[in-house]
Amino acid sequence: MRAPRFAFFVLIVLIAIAPTILHYPDLLALALIFGLLAAAFNLLLGELGFLSFGQAVFNGLGAYATGLLLVHVAHVPILLALLAAAACSAAGAAIVGLLASQGAGVYAVMLTFAFNELAYYLAFQLRGVTGGDNGLRGILRPTFFGLDLSNDVAYYYFTAAVFALVFYALLRILDAPFGYVLRAIRENEGRARAIGYDTRRFKVAAFVVSGAITGIGGALYAMLYGFVPLEVVDFTTSTNIVVMGILGGIGSPYGAIAGAAIFTLLSDRLSHVWSHWPLLLGVLFCTVVMVLRGGAVELVRFRGLGVTKRA
C-alpha cells in the first residue's frame, strides 16, 4: 500500500499526540471507538454498497458480551474480553447478513432496521441479563498484562492500540482480493454473479467483518465507562453511526474516522454550549447529503477528505 501507508502513518501520529492537545482522554477514546463503528459501517456502505441501518445490534452484542463476561467471571484477560465481543457480534452479523442478503434493495435495508428494533426491545425485556433500562453495571476494567488501565490516559492508549491494529487489518482487507470483489458487487452485482462470484457468500462475509469490528468498538465502550446503557443497541445509535459515516465521506475508511472524530468532538463541545445542537448536526448532515449528490453522482466518486478511492 503506497499512498495509504502515508495516510496511515499520519493517523497514527495524530492519535499518539492527541491527548497532549486535547486534554480529554475519555472523549478521545470515545472518538476512536466511534471511529471503529463508522469504519465498519463504511465497509458495508462504501465498499459493498449496502446501507445498514442496524449496526447498533453488533455494537450491543459486543458491549453486552464483554460486560457480562467481566461482571460474572473473575480475572478475564482483557484480550479475551475483546475476542469474545468480536465473536459474538460476528455471529450476530452472520445471521443478519444471511437474512439481509436474501432481500433485494430497500427490503434488505428495512430488515436491518427491523432487527435493530427487535434487538432493542429484546435487550429491554431481558432485564436480568442486560439490566434493561438501567443498563449493565459494575464492569471493571481488566489489566493489560499487568498494566493498570484505570488511569484514563492509559486506557486511551490501550484503546488507541486496539484501534490502530483493527484499522490496519481493515485496510489490508480492503486492499486484498476480497475487497475488490466487494466493490465489484457494489458496482454491478448481476455481472459479478455472471463472472462466477457467489455474491451472497461475500455479502455475509462483509457483514461478519463489519460486525466483528463494531463488536470490538462496543467492548471498548463497555470498558471505557464500566457500564453498558440500553442506548448501545438503540436505533438512534445506528443513525448516529450513519451520520458519522456520511459526514466523513463514504468510500473511504479514513473518511469514516474523520466523520466519527468530528461527530464526537463537536457533539461533546456543542452540547455544553447549546442544548439544541442536534439541529446543527441535522442541518450539516442534510447539507452534506445534498452536496454529495452533485457532479458524478455515484456514491463511490466522493473523495472523502482527500483520500482517493482505489479500484
Binding site: 426491545y121 451520520v243 442536534p278 442541518v283 447529503v289 449528490r293
Partner: protein
C-alpha cells in the same frame, strides 16, 4: 377474563389501530410512490401534534384539526420540492439519508419553538365524558377519534379509487416510469404525495394530542411501528396500511393484557418474518 375488560381492550386496540392506519397510510403512499422509507415520518406526526396545539390554544380544536395537516403538508411539499426532488438523480440511498437528517432538524426544531418539556391539552369540552360499557366508561373522545379517522380513511380511499388524481397516483405506485412516459409530471406527483402523506401523519398527531399530550420525541416509537405496519400490509398498498394498522393496534392492545412483556418484540419479529417470507406483505404486489 373479564369480558368487558377484553371489550375495552378491543376498543382501545381500534383507537390505536386507526392512528397507526392513518400514519401508515401516509407512509405507504410515500414508500409506494417515491420508493423511499420516510424515516422522518414520525417527526411530521409530532409536528402535526404541535401545530394542533398552537392552533387549539388560539382558535379551538376544529381549526386545529384542519390546520395541522395543511401546515405540515405544506412543509412536506416544500421540503420535497426543494430537496428530495433534487436528490432523485443521485438515487434512493441519498433520499433516505436526507430523511434521516430531517428527523434531527424537525425534532430539535420542535423543541426550540415549543420547548423540550412535555405538554398537554385538555379534551375539548364537547367531547368529555364517556359511554358506559359494563363497569367502565369508554371516553367519547376516543369514539370521536375513531370516527374522524375512519372518515379520513374513507376520504383518502375515495380519492384514490374514485378520482382521476387517485388513479394517476395508483398508477404511479405501480409504475412511475410509465406514468412519466404517458406525459404526467411525475415529479410534481411525487411532491403532492409526499405532502399528503406527511399531512396524514400530522392529523393523526393532532387527534392524539388530547389523549397523550405531546413531547418532541413522540414520533419515534410510532415511526418504528408505522414501518412494521407498512411492511406487513404491503409497501404501497393503502388497504394494507389500513388493515395492517388496525391489526397491529389490536395485537398490541390485546397482548398488553395477555402477555405484556412480549408485545413489541412480537411485532418486530412479525416484521422480519414478513420481509423474509413474503416481502410484498399482505396486499402488496411488487
Amino acid at each position: 377474563m373479564e369480558p368487558s375488560l377484553v371489550a375495552i381492550e378491543i376498543l382501545n386496540g381500534i383507537v390505536l389501530g386507526v392512528i397507526y392506519a392513518l400514519v401508515a397510510a401516509g407512509l405507504t403512499l410515500i414508500f409506494g410512490m417515491l420508493d423511499i422509507p420516510n424515516f422522518a415520518h414520525g417527526a411530521f406526526y409530532a409536528l402535526g401534534a404541535y401545530v394542533a396545539y398552537t392552533a387549539m390554544t388560539h382558535a379551538g380544536f376544529p381549526l386545529a384539526l384542519v390546520a395541522a395537516p395543511l401546515v405540515v403538508g405544506g412543509v412536506g411539499v416544500v421540503i420535497d420540492a426543494l430537496f428530495i426532488r433534487r436528490l432523485a438523480r443521485a438515487g434512493h440511498t441519498y433520499q433516505i439519508l436526507f430523511t434521516l437528517g430531517l428527523v434531527l432538524i424537525v425534532q430539535e426544531g420542535i423543541a426550540i419553538v415549543w420547548g423540550p418539556d412535555p405538554l398537554s391539552v385538555e379534551i375539548p369540552h364537547a367531547l368529555t365524558g364517556g359511554i358506559a360499557l359494563g363497569f367502565i366508561s369508554f371516553p367519547y373522545y376516543r369514539l370521536f377519534l375513531v370516527a374522524v379517522a375512519a372518515l379520513l380513511i374513507a376520504l383518502v380511499w375515495l380519492v384514490l379509487e374514485g378520482t382521476k388524481l387517485g388513479a394517476i397516483i395508483r398508477a404511479g405506485i405501480e409504475d412511475p416510469e410509465m406514468v412519466d412516459a404517458i406525459g404526467y409530471d411525475v415529479q410534481r406527483l411525487f411532491t403532492i404525495v409526499f405532502g399528503a402523506g406527511v399531512g396524514l401523519a400530522a392529523i393523526a398527531g393532532a387527534l392524539v394530542l388530547p389523549l397523550r399530550g405531546g413531547q418532541p420525541a413522540m414520533g419515534n416509537e410510532l415511526n418504528a411501528l408505522s414501518f412494521v405496519v407498512v411492511v406487513i400490509g404491503g409497501l404501497g398498498s393503502f388497504a394494507g396500511a389500513v388493515v395492517g394498522g388496525i391489526l397491529v393496534g389490536l395485537v398490541q392492545s390485546l397482548m398488553s393484557i395477555v402477555f405484556p412483556a412480549a408485545d413489541e418484540v412480537a411485532i418486530f419479529v412479525a416484521m422480519a418474518v414478513v420481509l423474509l417470507l413474503r416481502p410484498q406483505g399482505l396486499f402488496g404486489r411488487r
